[in-house]
């Protein structure tokens, strides 16, 4: 008998089922993985940003207690360098990727030069101090623009002027220049987007174990993409057959992009384990190493030329960006400033003449790759600053400039002229209007005018950010055209065991997002089985179908859709079986409330548990039907999804000190259909906070010779809970037609929207003093200096 309707879970704010485990210390992170005979690897790193390695003497270290081996670049020069799997499309890329250990030359402070392997981690650190390296220091360069100028120090022979690639999109530059020259209002500005450290709470680590019996390797790693790490390690670095490697990502404590990439230690611990006859070898970086060497994000320096009409309509935009990629190319570094940034610079606006040119550059810093919001954060910061510059130059209210230039609902699907995929759908003005209403925009503008009138020392600033982003990465054919060296679909297998319990395995995986909860909600509703009966398994290449991992706000939109489709296949098979068992025509069977029955007679139907049991034992199946209820889907999305919204930040800036205090933060987001509003809000809280951190606090500072001055959490400020504002969140819901869930994705939206909202607010607060732009982070001193220079 099929029972009455179970409670629907999709759309409910269900608490994350993984949290009790994670917050009570029952999680298993890489540092909790204990293996018998574990040996420890520590890394000797270059103190110079650019130097030639003259000699390395490790004799003393080798003789120290507990030392199992010391290895240098020379010892492993037969091993390939790491691969670069996403080059800027359609242009030549001068590729230089890091070797596992530097050979001959180092290109950044923190470059791995040698490793020691010891019985205990204490001995490893002791032994490092006993290795002598003779360096010949070479001139270093910091700053992408500077690195391309004549006479700048050269990092790599094959990259003259340190240029990795020059890439552009949109119309011809000449055409756009002509349109700019013909514009009534013209504004030129230099806009920065500083280099950031992703700062996942758990740094990176890896454990490698070689099994001499089977010749198989197992890698435990802090990974956002275990299948990809297996593929790259096997096919590009070690040359070990792919099937001989298994990669396991245990619980992962945040990544924000930094754990997508293949790093030196991952292949190295496998190779070292083999050298040690199968003893597992562990590497776990400390925070300083994480800051120095785990990939950074952003790092743009752009020239912008804007044309507009006197009443605020944008007529032309030209952006020329220098993108720092660091000392070498990280795994997907060139794709971020090209596909993910260049093609999204138009934001939510119709800009008739637009050209974006990117120069990817080597400099002597940490590698720079995708970081939460990757490319789209840089794009939305750019365009939202541009819109405010137009408002500033024309005297038209910033909200009005946005309205005037918005892509309208009837314009979808919309081609922004930059060669990317068309925006699916949206109603940008609706989100803007709601946000203005929530914040009480008119009143705030009045109060701002009054305070200015009274010369109030606390100046009020209101910052708007209307954004659109591309996520749900991504359609494989398109990504292939864009230089991505693989597919970008996602996989899921759904199976119902004899006992009626459901196991979902997926190539998607969490590093804090709550996949197990969201995915279970989806399956519970679609199958009509209890939430508790569903187990979502992930993060291990053994036992999950190949998948591309978690980044680019793709988990629900792409991975969730794969699950959804697998459930549909299982349900379809269950209905066929029910038709057979109930001796009915398949077209007369309905599936509802966790069971299948002949239309009109639920009381004589079969529950999914009964059907799963029957399918499993296989005593009575229709001719040709295979046993078990199980299905796998490899879902390749037809396009990106495009979440959008408007965020508004209200700040007070202290006229005497330049201090900024965030007074309010209002956000209206459209992420399409919402599976779990609690998780969506959590993602927004985190994302907004991270973006606010970029606007006000974060930024890597390198000294002229490439030493990092912000090398610890004592110097590099991330926002803590006590520093975050209260969030006033609402959403509009415009389901995307790109996937059957109607879900657009939310992992990056907050971080994409908030940086310009906060920066625009601070600049707005001081705009009456004649200030129209400042570089981030907007530290009190920066703001104070700007005020001083303008009075």
């Amino acid at each position: 008998m099929v029972a009455s309707a179970p409670e629907k879970l999709v759309g409910k704010p269900i608490k994350r089922r993984e949290d009790p485990r994670l917050i009570t210390g029952a999680g298993v992170f890489i540092d909790d993985v204990r293996l018998p005979g574990l040996a420890h690897m520590a890394v000797l790193r270059s103190p110079y940003a650019h130097a030639r390695i003259v000699s390395i003497n490790a004799d003393a270290a080798r003789a120290m207690p507990g030392v199992l081996g010391v290895f240098t670049g020379e010892d492993i020069k037969h091993i390939n360098p790491l691969p670069c799997a996403w080059q800027a499309p359609g242009v030549e890329n001068k590729v230089n990727t890091p070797r596992l250990l530097a050979l001959d030359e180092v290109h950044q402070v923190g470059d791995p030069v040698a490793v020691v392997v010891t019985e205990s981690p204490y001995q490893a650190k002791d032994a490092l101090a006993a290795i002598e390296v003779d360096y010949e220091e070479l001139p270093a360069v910091v700053g992408a623009r500077k690195a391309t100028t004549p006479g700048a120090p050269q990092l790599h022979e094959n990259a003259p002027s340190n240029i990795v690639f020059r890439w552009s999109c949109g119309q011809d530059a000449d055409q756009v220049d002509a349109a700019l020259a013909a514009s009534e209002v013209q504004v030129r500005e230099r806009i920065g987007n500083q280099q950031l450290i992703p700062t996942a709470i758990e740094p990176r680590g890896s454990i490698g174990r070689y099994d001499p019996g089977t010749g198989e390797y197992t890698l435990w790693a802090t990974s956002q993409a275990p299948h990809v790490h297996r593929l790259l390690t096997a096919a590009f670095v070690l040359g070990v057959p792919e099937q001989k490697i298994r990669v396991i990502a245990p619980d992962v404590g945040g990544g924000f992009g930094s754990k997508i990439y293949l790093y030196f230690d991952m292949p190295l611990v496998l190779w070292l384990s083999e050298q040690l006859g199968g003893r597992p070898v562990k590497f776990f970086e400390d925070r300083s190493e994480n800051f120095l060497h785990t990939s950074h994000g952003r790092g743009h320096d752009s020239d912008v030329a804007i044309g507009a009409t006197k009443d605020g309509k944008i007529t032309a935009l030209r952006v020329d960006t220098f993108a720092n990629l660091g000392g070498y190319l990280s795994t997907i570094a060139p794709g971020t400033p090209s596909t993910l940034y260049g093609r999204m610079v138009a934001g939510c606006y119709k800009i008739p003449n637009i050209h974006v040119g990117i120069t990817g550059v080597y400099t002597n810093t940490a590698m720079v790759d995708a970081y939460r919001g990757a490319g789209r954060t840089e794009a939305s910061y750019m365009i939202e600053r541009v819109v405010d510059l137009v408002a500033n130059a024309t005297g038209v209210d910033p909200a009005e400039v946005r309205r005037l230039n918005f892509v309208q609902p009837e314009d979808f699907p919309f081609d922004n002229g930059l060669g990317g995929l068309p925006y699916d759908s949206g109603d940008y003005e609706k989100a803007l209007n709601r946000a203005l209403e929530m914040v009480g925009y008119e009143d705030l503008r009045r109060e701002q005018a009054e305070r200015r009138e009274n010369g109030d020392r606390k100046m009020l600033g209101i910052g708007l950010s209307s954004f659109v982003e591309a996520c749900g990465l991504g359609p494989s054919q398109y990504m292939g055209r864009e230089g991505w060296a693989a597919g970008l679909w996602e996989s899921a297998n759904v199976r119902i065991h004899l006992t009626g319990k459901v196991v979902v395995t997926t190539g998607s995986l969490p590093h804090g997002q709550g996949h197990e909860t969201t995915f279970s909600q989806l399956v519970a509703d679609e199958l009509g089985v209890p939430f508790e009966d569903i187990q979502v398994k992930h993060s291990d290449t053994q036992g999950t179908p190949f998948g591309y991992g978690s980044y680019g706000s793709r988990s629900l939109a792409v991975g969730g859709t794969a699950i959804y489709k697998s459930v549909a296949k299982v349900r379809e098979k269950a209905m066929q079986l029910a038709a057979h068992l109930l001796e009915a025509a398949p077209e007369d069977i309905v599936y509802e409330n966790g069971g299948a029955y002949v239309k009109g007679s639920p009381e004589s139907g079969k529950t999914i548990q009964e059907l799963a049991g029957a399918a499993h034992v296989g005593y009575d199946l229709p001719a040709g039907m295979e046993p078990t209820l199980e299905a796998t889907t490899f879902y390749d999305p037809p396009s990106f999804t495009f979440p959008f919204g408007t965020h508004i930040c209200v700040v007070e800036v202290d006229r005497d000190t330049g201090d900024t205090e965030v007074k309010r933060y209002v956000a209206v987001d459209d992420v399409g259909n919402v599976v779990n509003p609690l998780i969506v809000d959590g993602q927004l809280h985190g994302g907004i906070t991270q973006g606010l951190g970029q606007a006000l606090y974060e930024g890597v500072v390198y000294a002229e010779k490439g030493e990092m001055l912000t090398g610890s959490l004592n110097d590099y400020a991330i926002v803590r809970a006590s520093m975050a504002p209260m969030f006033e969140l609402e959403n509009t819901v415009t389901p995307t037609s790109v996937n059957p869930l109607g879900a657009r994705g939310v992992g990056e939206a907050g971080a994409i929207a908030s940086t310009p909202a906060v920066a625009n607010a601070v600049i707005d607060a001081v705009s009456h003093l004649g200030i129209r732009n400042m570089d981030m982070p907007l530290t009190p001193e920066r703001v104070w200096r700007s005020m001083a220079a303008n009075t």
Binding site: P121, Y122, A124, K125, D126, S288, D656, T657, D659, L696, Y697, V701, L709, T710, L713, N714, D715, Y716, A717, I718, R720, S722, M723, T779, P780, E781, W784, R785
Partner: protein, 285 residues
């Protein structure tokens, strides 16, 4: 955390602690560990042994009869939460509540803070402005060191290597004394970018009879802003004198900058925060 190897001692008396220090010149006292342990983690400090004061009797507690006497091992949390202290000198509780975060407050000690003499610490400036002193006990016996003589330079005090701070004394303030501490925390570390502590006494004639102003966060050690003090003494405590004192505050100070806040900006903050601290002190009179 993987520091280099060290021995660990846990004496139960001050005398025993001093003995350990005397026997091993590379040994270090361990109090709350919130400055020492991070330095050991980075191997910036490599003591041969730690002498843990946590089990030494009589180093904790707050006595508020007239002068305020605080045991060296008293934590910030104890200062923050002490009702007696909140009644006698609320500023000390407020400052404690402003040090780092709750974890730091639970472990960090007043004695440790003064002995460490971090150039960006809070209590160094506060104890200096309040005219406090420490009791130091060593092989040479016991002596009282005023805060004016304690801080010598960056992370350097006038304590001998075998001396232990056992107690901190804050004198009972004269009638009509206003005190305040104005701090601007670094967004990453929480330490003072600039901190200004003031204690101002107004005499029977309505003029300032005594002013002590101490600056931290931007100078190699907590330092008196003597020019600002002089601008106040003998004047009524009003907008004009406060303004003059604020403007004079950076004078003669050895103000340092870094990539986060330049010396010029910090000098400006010394002025702004001196003004704000004096305004708060005037209100508290």
């Amino acid at each position: 955390m993987f520091p280099s190897q060290f021995d660990y001692h846990r004496p139960s008396s001050v005398a025993e602690a001093i003995q350990f220090l005397q026997n091993d010149p590379d040994a270090k006292i361990l109090a709350g560990g919130h400055s020492l342990i991070p330095a050991m983690k980075l191997r910036l400090a490599v003591p041969s042994a730690l002498v843990d004061l946590s089990q030494v009797d009589g180093l904790r507690g707050i006595a508020v009869n007239g002068d305020i006497r605080i045991g060296a091992m008293t934590t910030y949390a104890q200062l923050r939460d002490s009702d007696a202290l909140k009644a006698a000198m609320p500023l000390l509780s407020e400052v404690a509540n402003n040090v780092g975060d709750p974890q730091v407050q639970s472990r960090g000690t007043l004695g440790g803070s003064l002995a460490h003499a971090d150039p960006a610490a809070d209590f160094t400036a506060v104890v200096l402005a309040l005219g406090g002193s420490v009791k130091a006990v060593g092989t040479g016996g016991e002596r009282e060191i005023s805060a004016d003589d304690l801080f010598v330079d960056l992370f350097t005090t006038s304590l001998n290597p075998d001396e232990v701070i056992t107690e901190v004394t804050i004198p009972n303030p004269a009638a009509r004394t206003g005190m305040a501490y104005q701090k601007r925390g670094h967004p990453a570390s929480g330490y003072a970018v600039v901190g200004v502590a003031v204690s101002v006494t107004v005499g029977d004639d309505g003029n300032v009879s005594d002013a002590r102003i101490a600056v931290t966060g931007c100078t190699p050690k907590a330092t008196r802003a003597t020019a600002a003090e002089q601008a106040l003494v003998g004047k009524p405590l009003n907008e004009a004198s406060i303004d003059a004192a604020a403007k004079a505050a950076p004078e003669g100070l050895d103000i340092n900058g870094d990539h986060y806040a330049s010396a010029e900006y910090r000098a400006h903050l010394v002025e702004v925060d001196t003004r704000r601290a004096l305004e708060a002190a005037a209100k508290a009179l």
